[in-house]
Amino acid sequence: MPPFVLLDVGRPTEVDVTIDQGDVWIDSASVDSALGWELKPEGFCKDDVCIPVASNPGIVNNGEIRLAALADLLRRPLALSLEERAAYLGPPRALYDQTVETLDAPDFTFPDLDGHPHSLSEHRGSKVLLAVWASW
């Protein structure tokens, strides 16, 4: 069976999962390696933040966490393909709420046609007109 791929805003990591009646359960060590959230007695922790996990076997069971519950916990949108064994987690809701609150323009890094990366933050100190277009 091909590995299950978890896409963290597009960045792929192969993760260990159990699939039970349509529910994807991710091994907590995989959650740490893919997303940087470590399962501790106080909950899922990253840096100095811990999100408590209810002692509910429907959420965490046997060192595995149900993917849909994890997405809810982190307030991240989830799209799942059981057939192709892949799931995509979008940016946390808090990121956008923070943008609206602080009005800080979210930084990004994209390549030009030669593959050279450019970031918005390189242009701090100048006014920037960000113009977004497409050929379609």
Binding site: L78, S81, Y88, G90, P106, S126, L129, S135
Partner: protein, 187 residues
């Protein structure tokens, strides 16, 4: 400083960029991450960002051509005059509460739709074309106002983004009483 970003496949954006031969950074965001970060649903759209890296005007439809402006019901001359005045420092940025009010609300469904786009894009890269199309479709159903998904995936689905599917999509959208472009209100 102008930065342009094409939410497009590099191969589709390339001829346009090469013809324009810009001197400013001209970037390609194939995976539509800008949509996720800035809550963008259509192109063309511009954001003004000040020297401190803060949003001075949230993303707003803008055209450089008269026909485009007419279609989107924005005045390209007025937009350009406003922009020049802001760049010269003659017009300050809007007060923060006004800016916050201008930023479009983002329902959870919109980000969920973008997650389906992101999954679909990865599936497409992995050769799972059918599964990719399914997730592009789900994204469009969740967020029918997201034309970066609905129109921006047409080429991936062997459909012409200037053809019958597009014309029908816009006609249906208008029928429901919506606009294809949503300019910010003019103060």
């Amino acid at each position: 400083m102008v930065i342009t970003v094409a939410v497009d496949r590099a191969s589709d954006a390339r001829p346009w960029i090469e013809k324009a031969a810009p001197t400013h950074p001209s970037l390609v965001d194939e995976a539509h991450h800008l949509g996720e970060l800035y809550n963008m649903v259509n192109v063309p759209t511009v954001v003004w960002i000040d020297e401190e890296g803060r949003i001075a005007r949230p993303n707003d439809v803008a055209f450089t051509t008269e026909w485009g402006g007419k279609y989107a019901k924005v005045s390209t001359d007025e937009q350009m005059a406003l922009l020049r005045s802001w760049i010269r420092g003659e017009t300050p940025s809007q007060p923060e509460d006004v800016l916050r009010g201008q930023i479009a609300a983002m329902p959870d469904e919109s980000q969920e739709a973008r997650a389906h786009f992101g999954l679909g894009w990865w599936l497409l890269q992995s050769g799972h074309t059918g599964a990719a199309e399914h997730h592009f479709h789900l994204g469009g159903e969740l967020a029918p106002d997201d034309f970066m998904i609905r129109r921006g995936t047409m080429r991936f689905r062997e459909s012409d983004p200037f053809g019958a599917e597009f014309v029908q999509m816009v006609a249906d959208w208008h029928e429901l009483g919506h606009s294809y472009y949503l300019p910010l209100p003019v103060e």
